[in-house]
């Protein structure tokens, strides 16, 4: 059962990931990303992280990706431009990517496979799934990082606000 779910959603994640990367239209790419994220969320559940899975769907797929969609539509950059040599991906770039990614993927996967192979997992434990210890971790040991994240989000808000504001607006000010 678990295997089936894994296989289905893994396949789904892969296919949608390829679509994200390969589709000409960014809107489709974005939508495919939602699928990937959702599929990954399912895998998170399988891996005993339902809380993260929830967040994945709510925050990631629900909020962040929607932001993407919103911007894409705002800018109306429906398609990648294809005309003109400037915009074509050069052969160096293409082959470099292919070769590099091939080697990287091959090496990484080989190492992963060789390291973990068919290593089986311990059964799921309560502590892993529980939220309370997670909260304890967050607000105690990793409090510093949490505080930084707070500042980070503040920064993001201010930064996005300034960057996206029309320059004309401040000329008056």
């Amino acid at each position: 059962m678990e295997l089936a779910i894994f296989l289905i959603f893994a396949l789904l994640a892969l296919v949608s990931a390829v679509t994200v990367v390969a589709h000409r239209n960014p809107i489709y790419s974005t939508l495919s990303l939602v699928v990937t994220l959702a599929a990954t969320a399912v895998l998170f559940v399988l891996l005993g992280a339902p809380f993260i899975a929830t967040l994945q769907v709510l925050v990631y797929a629900g909020a962040i990706v929607v932001l993407f969609l919103f911007v894409i539509m705002l800018l109306n950059v429906g398609r990648e431009e294809t005309e003109g040599s400037v915009t074509r991906t050069g052969p160096g770039q293409r082959w470099g990517t292919v070769v590099g990614a091939g080697i990287f993927a091959g090496t990484l996967l080989a190492i992963l496979w060789r390291t973990y192979g068919r290593e089986s997992l311990d059964p799921l434990t309560e502590e892993l799934v529980a939220i309370k210890p997670l909260a304890a971790l967050l607000f105690d040991r990793y409090l510093l990082a949490f505080e930084v994240i707070g500042l980070l989000l503040l920064v993001a808000v201010v930064a996005a606000g300034i960057v996206a504001r029309r320059p004309a607006a401040e000329k008056e000010g």
């Binding site: 991906t89 160096g92 770039q93 470099g96 990517t97 590099g100 990614a101 080697i103 990287f104 090496t107």
Partner: protein, 646 residues
């Protein structure tokens, strides 16, 4: 005895004169310039006379008088500025101060109307000082100082007429050729100092005599130490005394004012080489191979220059070649071991050659600067004093018995005869040629008809007293100077030889030849040389006395090759130019254009160019496209990862 405290004044006074006149400048009144310019050498002459009196007042063998003025350097190299008055330098001192003063006096008249009168005397005083330094120095270094100093003055005085093209060039040539000789001199000094740690003459000679290894074994260039040093020093002498192959500067040096030619390029400076060889006679005695070389060079120079002298038309050029030729005699003498005879000839030559030059100066003065004998003729009538004094000089150089040149030249020939017959023959022939070309000069100049322009004829006049007085004095000298060295056939012993004996002691008495000639042989030799001289004179008389240049033209038509060769001075200058000067210039150009500009600068240029090129090519890696940058990152990571795990 004052001499050992006064010696330093002898060179110092002329130096002071030069400095004073230099400071007073060209705008100083003529009287003050004259007072300083003539006063300084006169004072020097007087001091010299005092010192000489002191010296001669000593009982024979008179010990040398030495004055150490100050320590020139300190430390391991300790050399003093010190002066030495011994028999050898006494002779030179007298010649230099006496002839020198006379020529100063003469110059006051000769140069009276020249621009830069004061400058001239600054140089001349400077020369006197340097020459006296050379003569009086008690070590090789002081001698070298004077040696170079006179070279400088020679340069300045040859180039006195600096606004013309030739004189400065001739001066430059003189200096540079001299420098080539100095190269040898300096090398010799280095070797001496290296071996003995001193440069003081007497110490060096004592040590080299005591040093068994000096005259045997191989030191450098396959020569013994003594030979090496002798050769080096002789190279110096070659330059200074205008011997083959370094004689080329002397004829050109005639571009200077005539009194200069008389003083520097006839009487004093050019004989410095002979003096030096005589001074270093100990070394030469230890180096028989080099002595022979010296003799050969001397003989060759003598005849070579004499033949060139045959075909020159410039009155001073003839005298110049004659000087070269006579210097050859002196080296011939030195080479065969008759050092005292070399000095003897040096002394007599100083008188008669100075006389001849000054006489020619008087002629030129009268001719308003004309030096070509073809434009002269019959000047006897216009310049009586000049003619008669010149006449004396002519007879003296030609070797007419009784006059100075006869005794000294004869002594040299006698010494050569006992040493080497081939050289003697050369010397004898040279004597004949000398008589011939000098007679040619006299006949072309003073006899026959005047061949110059009317204007020149109009201007002909006898010179002022400042010029004629020295002529007369020198003429007297040219007669009597030889009597101090009468040959053994006339006197019991050659007084001059005897006088110099303390300085020039044969290391190996048995070999010293001239004294052992029998009287008969000597008489025969004298007869031979007199005969040759008279033959030369009479041949010239027949050819030139009345007919002027006609005979010469006829000869040149018959044998144009010989004429051209002689007139062209065997084209030695051209050969030097072709085979030494131009290749060197080419080399220098190559050094600059190829090595410096092309190879070194080029490789630097290529280096910078390649650096910039690399940069310029590499800059295109920053394409402006951020995807490329990401790819660099990615590929970098992949490559480094592989490198890490391999």
């Amino acid at each position: 005895m004052e001499a050992q405290n006064l010696l330093w004044l002898i060179p110092a006074l002329p130096f002071a004169g030069a400095a004073l006149n230099g400071i007073l400048g060209p705008k100083a009144p003529r009287w003050s310039t004259n007072a300083v310019a003539l006063g300084a050498p006169l004072a020097s002459l007087l001091v010299a006379v005092i010192c000489l009196f002191d010296f001669f007042a000593q009982a024979a063998p008179r010990p040398a008088i030495e004055q150490i003025v100050y320590a020139w350097t300190t430390g391991p190299l300790s050399i003093d500025v010190a002066f030495l008055l011994d028999q050898l330098s006494a002779v030179m001192l007298f010649v230099v101060t006496f002839v020198g003063f006379l020529i100063h006096l003469y110059s006051a008249g000769y140069m009276a109307h020249e621009e830069g009168y004061q400058r001239y005397f600054v140089y001349l005083n400077l020369f006197m000082g340097s020459m006296l330094l050379l003569v009086l120095g008690n070590n090789f270094l002081v001698m070298f100082m004077g040696w170079e100093g006179v070279g400088l003055c020679s340069y300045l005085l040859i180039g006195y007429y600096y606004q013309e093209t030739t004189p400065p060039a001739a001066g430059k040539k003189a200096f540079i050729v001299n420098r080539i000789g100095d190269f040898g001199f300096l090398a010799g000094i280095l070797a001496i100092f290296d071996r003995f740690g001193t440069l003081e003459f007497r110490e060096v000679f004592a040590r080299i005599t005591a040093d068994g290894g000096a005259a045997s074994g191989t030191y450098a260039l396959g020569l013994t130490f003594a030979s090496f040093v002798a050769l080096c020093l002789f190279i110096g002498a070659m330059g200074k005394s205008a011997q083959i192959p370094l004689y080329v500067w002397l004829p050109d040096a005639m571009a200077g004012p005539t009194p200069v030619s008389a003083l520097i390029h006839a009487a004093t400076m050019v004989t410095a080489g002979v003096y030096m060889v005589a001074r270093a006679n100990v070394i030469y005695q230890l180096a028989p191979d080099i002595s022979l070389f010296v003799a050969v060079i001397g003989a060759l120079t003598a005849i070579f220059a004499a033949t060139i002298g045959l075909a020159q038309n410039d009155i001073k050029k003839v005298l110049a070649y004659s000087t070269v030729s006579q210097l050859g005699y002196m080296f011939l003498a030195a080479g065969v071991g008759a050092y005292s005879m070399a000095i003897f000839h040096l002394g007599t030559h100083a008188f008669f050659k100075a006389l001849l030059f000054l006489g020619s100066g008087s002629v030129i003065h009268a001719m308003s600067g004309e030096q070509d004998m073809r434009q002269m003729g019959g000047l006897r009538k216009h310049l009586p004093i000049t003619f008669w004094t010149f006449f004396v000089g002519w007879l003296a150089i030609a070797g007419v018995p009784g006059l100075a040149g006869f005794f000294s030249k004869d002594a040299i020939l006698a010494a050569t005869f006992s040493a080497n017959k081939v050289l003697w023959v050369i010397g004898l022939i040279t004597a004949g040629i000398t008589a011939f070309y000098m007679s040619r000069l006299v006949y072309l100049t003073f006899f026959g008809k005047f061949r110059g322009s009317h204007e020149q004829e109009h201007h002909l006049h006898e010179s002022p007293w400042t010029m004629t007085v020295p002529l007369v004095i020198l003429a007297v000298g040219s007669v009597v100077a030889g009597w101090i060295g009468l040959p053994p056939v006339l006197a019991e012993v050659n007084q001059f030889d005897h006088f110099l004996a303390p300085v020039i002691q044969p290391l190996d008495a048995g070999e010293h030849g001239a004294h052992h000639l029998s009287h008969t042989t000597e008489w025969i030799l004298i007869a031979a040389s007199v005969g040759v001289a008279l033959a030369g004179i009479f041949l010239a008389r027949r050819l030139y006395k009345d007919r002027g240049l006609a005979a010469e033209q006829a000869f040149s038509e018959r044998a144009p090759g010989v004429q051209r060769l002689l007139e062209g001075k065997y084209f030695v200058d051209e050969l030097y130019d072709r085979f030494i000067v131009r290749p060197t210039a080419w080399l220098a150009k190559m050094c600059f254009k190829v090595v410096d500009s092309l190879v070194i600068e080029g490789s630097i240029g290529v280096g910078t160019f390649l650096t910039e090129l690399t940069g310029d090519l590499a800059r295109f890696s920053t394409t402006g496209n951020v995807r490329n940058y990401a790819l660099y990152f990615f590929l970098g990571v992949v490559a480094l990862f592989w490198w890490m795990i391999l």
